[in-house]
């Protein structure tokens, strides 16, 4: 592991150790935060008991679905918008300000339309994630060297073959940034929606545990979400780094 990697781990260990110490000696009230070791203990017990398995499967299933829809539809829309410069010009201001709007204000509207089901939650996940993918696609396509378009014509490639065989791989580093963001935003959109109002799901269970002062369960599930979200992001980061190295792109 690199020196930076070791420093990163050291910072994490120190932060967790500090929190453990403060909780153990009573500097932080255990009714507010329980020690990280107890969070881990509670999480292991929860996973072994299988008590939250349905909720875990449901929430991560929705996150995966929302992320997939966002990535596929975001890429397709990005391609179409990129091919229509006037449409893009008119949409650019909306993209630029999209994340300045609190998207969750539309959640009640979606519940009214679709009922208290999985659909509004998936849509909220998609709504938070898709624009990141569209923007990444547009950025990626903007950076496809013009000469590749000429190469495509020399090889007598049609529009679809050019998009799939040349533009897509050429734009891939930027698209992958979009995928990473879309997955993260899908997590946020889904968990937050469940937290606000949902019949089930990890967000709902955390919210219930919070209302019932059930700190062990609340922190156990929060820890689970942090671990999964971080692991997914790190895995995507590793893939991104390997691709970037192969293509000679320096990434921090």
């Amino acid at each position: 592991m690199s020196r930076i990697g070791w420093i990163r781990i050291a910072v994490l260990v120190i932060a967790i150790g500090l929190l453990e110490f403060c909780c153990r000696v009573g500097l932080i009230d255990h009714r507010v935060v329980i020690p990280p070791s107890q969070m881990a203990d509670a999480l292991i017990a929860l996973l072994i008991s299988g008590q939250a398995n349905d909720q875990i499967v449901r929430t991560f299933g929705i996150v995966i679905l929302a992320a997939l829809i966002s990535v596929v539809a975001g890429f397709a829309l990005g391609l179409v918008i990129h091919a229509l410069p006037r449409v893009r010009q008119s949409l650019d201001p909306f993209f630029a300000t999209y994340y300045a709007v609190p998207i969750f204000i539309f959640y009640p509207v979606l519940i009214v339309i679709f009922g208290l089901s999985v659909v509004p939650i998936v849509l909220m996940g998609v709504a938070t994630a898709i624009v990141a993918m569209i923007i990444a696609t547009l950025n990626g396509l903007d950076r496809v060297p013009q000469v590749l378009t000429k190469v495509a014509r020399v090889h007598r490639m049609g529009t679809i073959a050019t998009a799939l065989l040349l533009k897509l791989p050429a734009a891939a580093p930027h698209l992958f940034t979009g995928v990473k963001l879309a997955v993260s935003y899908a997590f946020i959109g889904v968990i937050a929606s469940e937290f606000i109002l949902a019949p089930a799901g990890l967000g709902r269970v955390i919210s219930d545990a919070y209302s019932d002062f059930n700190n062990r369960q609340m922190y156990a599930l929060m820890l689970l979400l942090i671990i999964v979200a971080t692991a997914v992001n790190m895995a995507l980061h590793v893939v991104d780094q390997r691709w970037a190295e192969r293509r000679g792109i320096a990434k921090p």
């Binding site: 190469v151 490639m157 050429a170 293509r247």
Partner: protein, 273 residues
């Protein structure tokens, strides 16, 4: 078809290219009218000042651009807005595919047209060996120098066995020594394939070393001012740069182009004297 017609591999007749002006700006007359006949198997170089329409000429001949007026033919058939089978183009910019290995880069065009795997392997291995890239077959372009990446692009063109190869300043981004050596490789390629080559270059020495005939173009709109016949034997390499005739050719080209280059700089009043 007469024997003379068969000898003409590609031609431009009265070709003009005018780019429509962007909002509020006048149209740009980039090229022509130009007449040119490329003989089968000859090496023709085009030199001229920056912005004189050299690359436009190449793209019109390739079928990448439609001429505003005039006709372009390749092997007796008209070329109009589509690249004909049998034409290969190597661009100045790095056009290698960074996501593919050197081998896969070279195989790209063959896979596209559905050539059998064994034939792809034979042609790609042969092209990479010819371009000195065998040891780098599994490398990615990012692991290679600029000159080697350009050789990857030439290999990708070579495997398709083009009969007309268009080179658009392919060594423009390389240092002088590497350019000379790359020139030797292009000459080897030309002799081996028997293809007709049109080379666009801004380097007079490169044109003088490589070509059978050199077209010197005027400042925009580009027209041929002079066609210089070098008279070199087919078996030649970069050693000819030390021959007396070489200096004569570059001198004549510079005489043709000096005034045009000044014009293209917009300094005619200051520097012409």
């Amino acid at each position: 078809m007469t024997a003379r017609d068969e000898d003409i591999h590609a031609s431009l007749s009265g070709v003009t290219r005018i780019y429509p002006g962007a909002a509020g700006t006048p149209p740009v007359h980039a090229l022509g009218p130009i007449d040119l006949e490329l003989k089968r198997g000859e090496f023709f170089a085009v030199v001229g000042p920056s912005g004189c329409g050299k690359s436009t000429l190449l793209e019109v001949l390739a079928g990448l651009q439609q001429p505003t007026a005039g006709t372009v033919t390749f092997e007796g058939r008209p070329v109009s807005g589509k690249v004909s089978d049998g034409i290969g183009v190597v661009f100045q910019e790095d056009a290698s595919f960074p996501w593919l290995t050197v081998w896969d880069n070279a195989a790209f065009g063959l896979r596209r047209v559905g050539v059998a795997a064994a034939e792809i392997r034979r042609r790609v291995d042969d092209a990479l060996a010819f371009m000195g890239l065998t040891d780098f077959a599994r490398s990615y372009p990012a692991q290679l120098s600029g000159g080697m990446r350009q050789r990857v692009c030439i290999s990708r063109t070579l495997v398709l066995q083009p009969r007309l190869i268009l080179l658009d300043e392919p060594f423009g981004a390389l240092d002088a020594q590497t350019r000379l050596l790359m020139g030797d490789e292009v000459l080897r390629l030309w002799r081996r394939t028997g293809a007709t080559i049109l080379l666009i270059t801004h380097a007079l020495d490169e044109a003088a070393m490589l070509a059978d005939r050199i077209g010197a173009m005027s400042a925009r709109p580009g027209r041929f001012l002079d066609i210089v016949v070098t008279g070199w034997p087919r078996e030649r390499d970069s050693k000819i740069v030390s021959e007396a005739g070489f200096a004569e050719i570059t001198g004549r080209l510079w005489d043709d182009l000096r005034g045009e280059s000044i014009k293209s700089l917009g300094h005619s009043g200051v520097m012409a004297g």
